[in-house]
């Protein structure tokens, strides 16, 4: 080989090398643990994406929900945060205020924007700018034990709170527990909000002032209190987290529990013989349910934003979405998912049907504090330490002070 040939080959080789190394990027994504399926799913997606896009490696890190906020906080403070992360949508406000998230509107093509079901994409907006993509969505419904409720005379499940009380009395007579109330840990306050919202109450009004101590709120609290006092719930309410109440339902010892679609997946896996039904949350004066999303966000300080965005688009493609949502037992957030036969089962369709009356947690600063204040108040009520009216009034006062209203 002549010298010139060698030189040409060398420069070609370097050019090629340069091209490939120029595209060798790593995108780090933090995902919250939902179930045993979560990590395998994301790792599979990472592999598929890398195969289709050589030069981009995806590194997946799974974190428990309990510690996600702490991890993100330490990461952001230390400047070592990942490029993408799943976050609780309610954190978006603080993340935006701290200016650490990237606004996504500019990156979203019109067809991409159009994929999403309106309510869900709106939940990820702060000041009309989109910061979070709805990666998981859930609503709440009433699960009921078919055999127990049939015997109690409500073979399609109770429709109103009065029916819940009547059914629970009959179930109690057979030695089982009637209506499960969660009294501990995360979403304790939400469990009470089910009653508040279906009795015409609101947590905060249009001005962001706490109004859960209204007449509707007191009625809602009294319903739960009377259920507990009459022994129509599982005993020891304040030592039962959501998991505990769900376990009782799966054991067939509890007649009714309000929770999310993923319970159906758990029952399928752990107690496939259990006969259960799903109906809307019992009504007081109106129907309502709680809808919640978790958001996928892109951090502003990411050095590989384009690659990260490409992966996000991949995650919201139809195949990826169907696999994730059906695997975890969530609700579809994009229209093409919703049309997929995977979601034609009765349970998912029921939950989807409740969405029109869904309430999302308002994205206001101080929501976590408010939640804790309400949870504490309800715990005092459940323990009989405080009367519903007193507890709620005191809590609203405290909340408004915190909210500066």
């Amino acid at each position: 080989m002549t010298r010139t040939h060698t030189k040409i080959l060398l420069s070609l080789g370097t050019a090629l090398l340069g091209m490939s190394t120029a595209h060798a990027e790593t995108v780090r994504i933090a995902v919250a643990h939902y179930s045993d399926q979560t990590l395998p799913y994301f790792e599979k997606m990472a592999k598929e994406f890398s195969k289709a896009n050589p030069g981009i490696t995806i590194k997946v890190e799974e974190v428990n929900w309990d510690s996600l906020q702490q991890k993100l906080q330490t990461d952001i403070v230390g400047g070592t945060n990942p490029d993408l992360s799943i976050v609780a949508t309610r954190w978006l406000l603080d993340l935006v205020k701290d200016d650490v998230v990237e606004p996504l509107d500019a990156r979203m093509t019109p067809s991409f924007k159009d994929k999403f079901i309106g309510a869900f994409i709106n939940s990820g907006k702060v000041a009309s700018k989109t910061y979070g993509l709805p990666i998981s969505a859930s609503a709440r419904g009433l699960y009921y034990n078919k055999a127990m409720l049939e015997k109690a005379g409500y073979s399609n499940g109770p429709k109103t709170w009065d029916e819940v009380i009547a059914a629970s009395k009959k179930i109690k007579a057979t030695g089982a527990y009637g209506f499960g109330i969660q009294g501990k840990e995360i979403e304790t306050e939400i469990y009470w909000f089910y009653s508040l919202w279906t009795n015409g109450g609101e947590v905060v009004d249009a001005n962001g002032k706490a109004v859960f101590d209204s007449a509707a709120g007191i009625k809602a609290a009294n319903i739960y209190k009377s259920l507990i006092d009459q022994g129509l719930t599982q005993p020891g309410v304040t030592s039962n987290s959501r998991e505990d109440v769900q376990n009782l339902f799966k054991q067939g010892r509890l007649g009714m529990v309000i929770t999310a679609p993923f319970l159906a997946k758990q029952i399928q896996k752990e107690k496939p013989g259990l006969q259960y039904g799903v109906t809307a949350i019992p009504q007081g004066s109106n129907a309502a349910t709680f809808a919640t999303t978790d958001s996928l966000i892109l951090f502003k300080n990411s050095k590989v934003k384009t690659a990260a965005w490409q992966f996000s688009e991949f995650l919201f493609s139809k195949a990826a979405r169907v696999a994730f949502t059906s695997g975890e037992g969530f609700l579809p957030t994009t229209k093409e998912e919703a049309a997929d036969p995977a979601f034609n089962d009765a349970v998912t369709q029921s939950f989807i049907s409740y969405l029109p009356t869904a309430k999302f947690a308002p994205v206001i600063a101080g929501w976590e504090d408010l939640s804790k204040i309400v949870a504490n108040a309800m715990q005092a009520v459940y323990l009989g330490k405080s009367k519903p009216e007193d507890a709620l009034k005191a809590a609203a006062l405290q909340a408004n002070k915190m909210l500066k209203k």
């Binding site: 643990h33 939902y34 179930s35 890190e61 799974e62 428990n64 929900w65 309990d66 510690s67 702490q70 906080q73 330490t74 403070v77 230390g78 400047g79 070592t80 995360i186 998991e243 376990n247 799966k250 054991q251 010892r253 993923f262 758990q266 752990e270």
Partner: protein, 285 residues
Amino acid sequence: MPSKNKSKLKRSILCWLALSPLVIVILLPFAVMLLTAIKPADEVLSYPPRWLPSRIAWENFFVMWEETQFGTALKNSIVISTLSTVLAVGISIPAAYAMARFRFAGQAGYRRFLLVTQMLSPILLVLGLFRLAAAIPYGDGNLVDTHIGVIATYTALNTAFAVWMLQSYFATIPHDMEEAAWLEGCSKPRAVLKVFLPLAMPAMVVTGIFTFINAWNEFAVIYTLIRSAENKTVTVQIVDLVAGRYTVNWHHVMAAALLATLPVAVLFSWLQKYLVKGLSLGAVK
């Protein structure tokens, strides 16, 4: 002599009787661990709950091993704990020697400083530690998610206890042996190495054991500093199986906890005689 044995027997019975409440309460969690770890999955949440499983579910251990990458976690725990111990004892020995053998101006201040390092709970320190680790370049990144970062932290936090323990032992070792060596013309450092340290061996072993166990069981610091699954220790993996999960597989959690505790418990039983002897004057004789 028969009567002596009889009285020892009587004393033994009395002692065990007096200790029994404590013994029962101590052994209870281990019983819970063991019984839950060997239960088949569907019997864990059975109602009414039963003490004994219908069969011994050995598969729990295998499944858990896979799920938590227990082998890797175990290796990490061993590496981190051992290195922290060696380092902590290593730098504490000269400090304890200085405190025990010399009188110098900074003595009280140093002792107070060490006590203060114990007062800052790791919960308070984690944010700052993380930032510190993130700011120190290492390899192609920083000290976050590395063994070194954790080892340095553990060493620093365990120093106070190690120095205190070693110092109390060292103070009980009389000067005569070293002084004799000095008088015979041996240089000071050599005297320390050849005469003092062998005598102090039980103390160093005991301190090492304590530091090892503290490092093995530590949670807050390593949880904050370590990210990737392949760097996690056994303690973190187990807590991860429980904290914030939508469903908890208690049989796996207990199986993991059992395996994590076993080596340390065995270490204890082997060393309990060292432990007490080492703490007393008797070691010197």
